[in-house]
């Protein structure tokens, strides 16, 4: 198959090519330099700080030039070969995928955007836009020659009607997720549902399909369910993406009849076979906290593990369960969850409390080359990571990719699991902990919070409160600790920060020192007795009051505020206005310049640069035409990356602070805008000429969503 690319009929001759290569290398240099792996550390460390690459290496898979690895599906065959399905409908067999010279063979093409694949009885099954197809090579010539329809469904043709899967459950049936459609804007948008909606039967549902093609509805309330998979005993899980009605992404066990919240799927709840009896009238309009909504609505399912937005990814996608302990025996049966926006993998540990799965999410490995969509284990226990940003851009350098992750058999110092107790948590580590640090209450910071359940895109972190450590019981082997905690709240997500916990052997910090535990249910029984031997009781310090609803300043911001650089000039303007001035200043007789900046598909502003004169009075309107949240910050010359990175480290305070870091290099800004909304700010252009930048600081966007303001006379 030959794909021709035409640039308006211009043909490049050889010397043009040479010049092109030369120019490209000059232009790409800054992009490559600024896209290096970045650490998500929030504090200054006095001890050694281990790095992810010291334990888990990302290795490129050598890919021939004629293969575009926009991975939609990945399957490992028993002989160690890998099969990859791509966005453009191709299926590639990859022989010796872990070698220096894997062999790629095209075995099928022409499919319509497969987004998942599974192997069963020598045939491949994948979900395309309009059907689940069985691919068979009937004459063993390593080419698929039979494409059998297993089941199909109606479509409106909306481009977001993706179908993720299929996977095979413990009952031998196929399961797959039907993504909602895009709701458009203006008069076409359906207001109650938000930016995503159901435009055909069963959109927003997980469907079950028998091997002979009978499809029945299984669970509802899905929005953008990009990941689907099974755990070690074949139970079904799925991942969800933040957006309208979804305060933050998550991974959850799915049982028949579950409803995860997006009301648009209820359009199909009355169709024959539906196990859901919830109606739209049951959906609250008063923006309750999500755990309250779960109590209010009979049948609204609390997801197993919620993944705080912006901190641990922005677009949860495919996942795998480490049944063999490929990433270490200490992580056996835990989940590795990919993110399409932040090109990284998180780790999730789960336990069953009161019959339902819940657990914790931890950072795991950052720095992949593109947005992660699908993952699969290789025969050699490496993880093959299939990537494609599918048009949404990621923090990775590329638009697509296939890499593999390898553990070097050295045990990292990590939180292994966090288990909920009736009165606290039990934390297990992969290695023994330095005793002094283990019993120091200052090394444990626990907060809890929730998100809102509402139509708006995403949610701020709500009702943030501190917990207090009452007692600490270290284990004899110093590999775990039992904390007695005051202030636990059922239904809330609990952030556990363990800065200061030190590895006994290497005197190092934890590789990742924080986690979020979704305390959906507090187990009963077995409280920690204060009479226990070796227990450390924390003194009740009056200064350690429970803070109520006050977001705490992230430590990294404080670090920047006290800049010691004497050469740093305060950016001067003739009149001091607020950084975010939404009303025309009374002292202005006229506006010198009016600028309107919108957004373009692909996470970009629609203006790349514009000019201003020093001290000009400017009216700037930012229009967010996109289906995601964005903001606009004007920053001092050369500080775009710095401010963008600071925003990514804002943690739980990020959403409430509109991802605007408190820093003098931020000159003027809008707030974070909902999709299809706009904001106007007034400011006076700085006096100092130069190339200023405007950027979007929504986590990860600053890599591409930026422009230049030339201030000159």
């Amino acid at each position: 198959m030959k794909i021709e690319i035409t640039f308006n009929q211009i043909t490049l001759k050889s010397y043009f090519l040479t010049a092109l290569i030369f120019t490209c290398s000059i232009l790409l240099f800054p992009i490559v330099t600024f896209s290096q792996t970045h650490q998500h550390n929030n504090t200054i460390k006095t001890t050694n700080q281990p790095k992810e690459e010291d334990y888990y290496q990302i290795i490129d898979v050598p890919i021939p030039k004629n293969v575009l690895p926009e991975v939609g599906g990945l399957v490992n065959l028993t002989d160690g070969n890998l099969v990859m399905a791509t966005r453009r409908g191709e299926v590639w067999l990859i022989e010796n995928p872990s070698s220096n010279d894997p062999n790629f063979k095209l075995i099928a093409s022409g499919l319509h955007e497969p987004l998942g694949m599974v192997n069963k009885n020598n045939s491949l099954f994948l979900a395309q836009r309009s059907e689940i197809t069985k691919l068979t090579d009937t004459n063993s010539d390593q080419k698929i020659d039979h494409f059998e329809r297993i089941v199909s469904w109606p479509l409106s043709g909306n481009y977001c009607e993706y179908n993720h899967g299929p996977v095979i459950g413990q009952d031998g049936n196929f399961y797959f997720n039907m993504n909602l459609g895009d709701n458009g804007m203006g008069a076409g948008a359906e207001e109650f549902y938000g930016e995503m909606g159901s435009h055909a039967d069963w959109r927003g549902w997980m469907m079950k399909v028998t091997p002979d093609g009978k499809m029945t509805p299984y669970a509802a309330g899905l929005r953008s369910p990009a990941g689907i998979g099974v755990n070690e005993i074949g139970e079904i899980f799925y991942t969800e993406n933040q957006g309208g009605w979804v305060g933050t992404g998550f991974i959850s066990h799915v049982e028949e009849g579950d409803f995860f919240g997006h009301p648009s799927s209820l359009k199909s709840a009355k169709l024959p076979g539906s196990p859901i009896s919830i109606t739209e009238k049951d959906i609250p309009r008063n923006e309750p906290l999500f755990h309250e909504a779960v109590k209010q609505i009979q049948g609204l399912t609390m997801p197993s593990v919620r993944i705080p937005h912006g901190i641990l990814g922005i677009s949860t996608s495919g996942f795998i369960v480490d049944k063999e302990g490929a990433m270490g025996p200490f992580f056996k049966n835990q989940f590795f969850v990919g993110d399409e926006g932040h090109a990284k993998i998180m780790r999730v540990s789960m336990e069953k409390i009161n019959g339902k799965y819940q657990g914790a999410v931890y950072p795991f490995r950052d720095g992949f080359e593109s947005g992660i969509l699908r993952m699969e284990f290789g025969k050699d226990n490496s993880i093959f990571v299939g990537m494609s940003d599918r048009g949404w851009h990621s923090t990775g350098k590329k638009r697509e990719g296939l890499q593999r992750l390898v553990w070097n058999n050295i045990t990292p110092f990590e939180i292994q699991t966090i288990n909920a107790k009736a009165d606290g948590f039990e934390i297990h580590f992969t290695k023994p902990v330095d005793f002094k640090s283990l019993i120091n209450e200052n090394n444990y910071q626990i907060k809890s919070f929730d998100y809102l359940y509402h139509q708006k895109y995403g949610s701020d972190v709500m009702d943030l409160k501190d917990c207090r450590i009452i007692a600490i019981l270290p284990s004899i082997d110093q590999k775990s600790v039992r904390l007695k905690v005051e202030g636990l709240r059922e239904g809330y997500i609990h952030e556990l920060k363990l800065e200061g916990i030190i590895d006994k052997e290497k005197n190092e910090s934890l590789l990742h020192d924080f986690a979020f535990y979704s305390l959906n249910s507090i187990p009963s029984g077995d409280p920690l007795s204060l009479e226990s031997q070796n227990i450390v009781i924390v003194k009740n310090n009056d200064e350690k009051e429970l803070l109520k609803n006050t977001p705490q300043e992230p430590k990294s911001n404080k670090e920047i505020e006290t800049s010691k650089d004497p050469k740093e000039k305060q950016v001067k303007t003739t009149e001091t206005l607020e950084k975010r001035m939404n009303k025309l200043p009374k002292s202005w007789k006229k506006v010198d310049k009016t600028i309107i900046i919108g957004t373009k598909p692909g996470m970009k502003y629609d203006i790349e640069s514009f000019n201003l004169k020093p001290n000009e009075k400017v009216k700037l309107t930012f229009k967010n035409f996109d289906d995601m949240q964005h903001n606009l910050l004007i920053v001092s010359p050369g500080s775009g990356n710095e401010i963008g990175e600071l925003a990514m480290k804002m943690g739980l305070n990020g959403p409430k602070m509109n991802y605007i870091p408190k820093n003098k290099k931020v000159l003027f800004h809008t707030n974070l805008l909902q999709p299809k909304s706009e904001e106007t700010i007034y400011f006076i252009a700085p006096e100092q000429i130069g190339k200023y930048e405007f950027i979007c600081t929504y986590p990860g966007h600053y890599f591409i969503m930026r422009g230049i303001i030339n201030i000159k006379n």
């Binding site: 794909i3 043009f16 092109l20 022409g110 698929i144 039979h146 494409f147 481009y159 598909p601």
Partner: protein
Amino acid sequence: MKLKNKKIIEIGICMLYLLILFPKIGSSQSPSLILNPSEKNLVQRCFIEYDGKKRTECVAVGDISGIHYAIDISNGSIINVWRGGFIDVTTMWTDRGELQLAIPLGKKIILSDIPTFSLSKASNQPSSNSAQDKLSFKGYSLNSENRPIFQYRFNNCEITDKTEPGKDYKGLNRELKFNGPIESVSNTTAVLAEATKIEKINKNLYAINNQEYYILIDEKKHKVTLQNNQGKESLISIPNKGNSIQYSILW
């Protein structure tokens, strides 16, 4: 001017040219993506626009000879035929693929989109079993030339549908084969064409819509009827003695 200086100036001009060109590449003038069968025939599942609506169950079939067609497998209807370039897939695979349409290149002939298969009106069977009346797409196989043979189930019959360019490059030859109980095969009919105007201009040859395209069918082997129904004319045939229907679309 010295050769060395000349080369430097040439390269300089090229770089300048490309620097001017470069900003355009990232912007609205995205490169177009075209699929063209060069080494082998192509099959591409896609959405195709027909009569202002998006058809969501289409297959575009491209041939090295440059004779292509698009079929809607939800009703077995060949909706477009054309010659030249195959399809523009830019809106399918660029950025988010919002428009998500495969666009036939060159001038396409728009055929009717009515269901190809139906029960004959002369049928004595009670039409209560709606499942039998509905066409069920089963999938397709690829033959040695990488051409698809579509498989359907209708009215208790297994139907295969193969269309390929004629050796004289004047159009497409379609062969429908029916496999099932005699009663079922004999009361299945196929619509070969439906249009405002169908004219028999010669033995075996019908002109559609004032010779926009032609249907050629061997009337010695096939029973062909021309029907008029509320201003629409249709050309209908039933399986021949060999349980098949063979006809050509020429343009």
